[in-house]
């Protein structure tokens, strides 16, 4: 009885976590439908989907430190889902840019890519995210073995590309970039800390032996 109850709760939790990241997309779709996105709906959609691609990537990166620092284990179950959602929003972000802003004009696309370097950096980040999404299944994880972990360390350079992508767009106010940068600094810094700690432990053990 108790088991069945906790199973039901587990399902509920899964559905809530699964549906929550879709809310921004739902909000955008609804407001686009009722023409409530202002004078430049294209820009609004591109901006919001980009923001959520980053938010979800940062959430993905937060799950390991949450476990190590705060002993919070349950989010680990959703790390893959959050990563895939980040890829999903990044893909919508790029598709919206190409469709709504460029109107698929290839001449403009080439010009934009060559003249707006931050677009290249962002596109590179998305490109590198794709193999991570493709190899996110359990089968792929098994097949790649140790290499899977190595491959998925790509998420660190990707997060740095994302930072460059948004810093390069600063007009005059860097408040948002500062917040994202500080959070990322903590997320990557904690990994560095644990890595160094493990290394000294191994070295000490080697010396003792």
């Amino acid at each position: 009885m108790a088991k069945a109850k906790s199973k039901a709760l587990g399902y509920l939790e899964w559905w809530v976590v699964f549906l929550l990241p879709l809310a921004p997309l739902g909000w955008l779709t609804y407001n686009a439908w009722i023409f409530n996105l202002g004078a430049d709906p294209a820009q609004e959609i591109v901006l919001e989907t980009g923001v959520w691609a980053i938010n979800l990537l940062w959430i993905t990166l937060a799950i390991t430190p949450l476990r190590r620092v705060f002993k919070l284990n349950w989010p680990l179950r959703y790390r893959r889902m959050m990563g895939l959602y980040s890829l999903f929003y990044a893909a919508v972000h790029l598709l919206a840019f190409a469709t709504f802003i460029l109107g698929w004009r290839w001449d403009l696309l080439l010009k934009e890519l060559s003249e707006r370097p931050y677009i290249i950096v962002g596109a590179l980040g998305l490109l590198l995210l794709i193999p991570l999404g493709v190899t996110s299944t359990r089968g792929m994880q098994r097949r790649l073995g140790r290499n899977w972990l190595k491959l998925h360390k790509l998420v660190y350079p990707i997060s740095l590309l994302v930072m460059v992508h948004i810093i390069w767009q600063i007009r005059s106010d860097f408040g948002e970039q500062l917040v994202y940068g500080l959070i990322l600094g903590f997320l990557l810094g904690s990994r560095m800390y644990f890595y160094l700690q493990r290394k000294t432990r191994v070295m000490r053990a080697a010396r003792a032996a």
Partner: protein, 270 residues
Amino acid sequence: KIRESVRNTALSTDDKLTPYFHVMSYNNFYEFGTGKKDPARHAQNFQTDPWKVEISGEVGKPGVYNLEDLIKPHLLEERIYRLRCVEAWSMVVPWMGLSLGDLLKKFDPTSKAKYVEFTTLHDPDQMPGQRSRFSTLEWPYVEGLRIDEAMHPLTMLAVGVYGNAMPPQNGAPLRLVVPWKYGFKSIKSIVKIRLTDKMPNTTWNLMAPQEYGFYSNVNPAVDHPRWSQASERRLPSSLFNPNRVDTLPFNGYADEVAELYRGMDLKKWF
């Protein structure tokens, strides 16, 4: 509603107007926040009455004047101008106001008046953007024109839009409109006009001189270092039509203003 105005058709474009709703809800006015919707949200209680303007420097009649007294002697005109933002979007707006030159002449500029410097109100209590700790812009916002640019008949001081008094988010109660330059040159909520013999500082130029020049004439051949200026999106755009149009030299006003820059290398004096 403000005073009657007369449409100046000779100076107006036939381009399709950007609806009033978008003109007053999609704004760059960093004193009220950097988001496009921030000014409409944060400027509604902005106090614009009474409003004084200081006119100083190389003029025969310097002083601090009430806005009504400055405007009263002039016939207000409605002019439909293209507005091209440096961010590569544009609108078409029916402004109401008067030629800046007509107003300046009343104060007897001296022969040493080579430039005009404008200053926006500095009031962090009313303008949350001026309180931001992360802004790299210095306040108050300052802008400037060469005297011949200021005296050009296209250069306008606007007090209204779409037949209504200027909404605060659009730069109430008094703003500049220079249609052949990028939008940020058209300084909002002006409190000081100073005529001078030296080229004045301008806010965006102070922050990033390699990106924003003193002249900032609309020019499809000179790109912003981080993006192209060759084309623009005419707002409102819709999702199925980006409404992209080629950008014209001097925003389409080359016939009227190109002679002001004859012999100048526009790539150098961008």
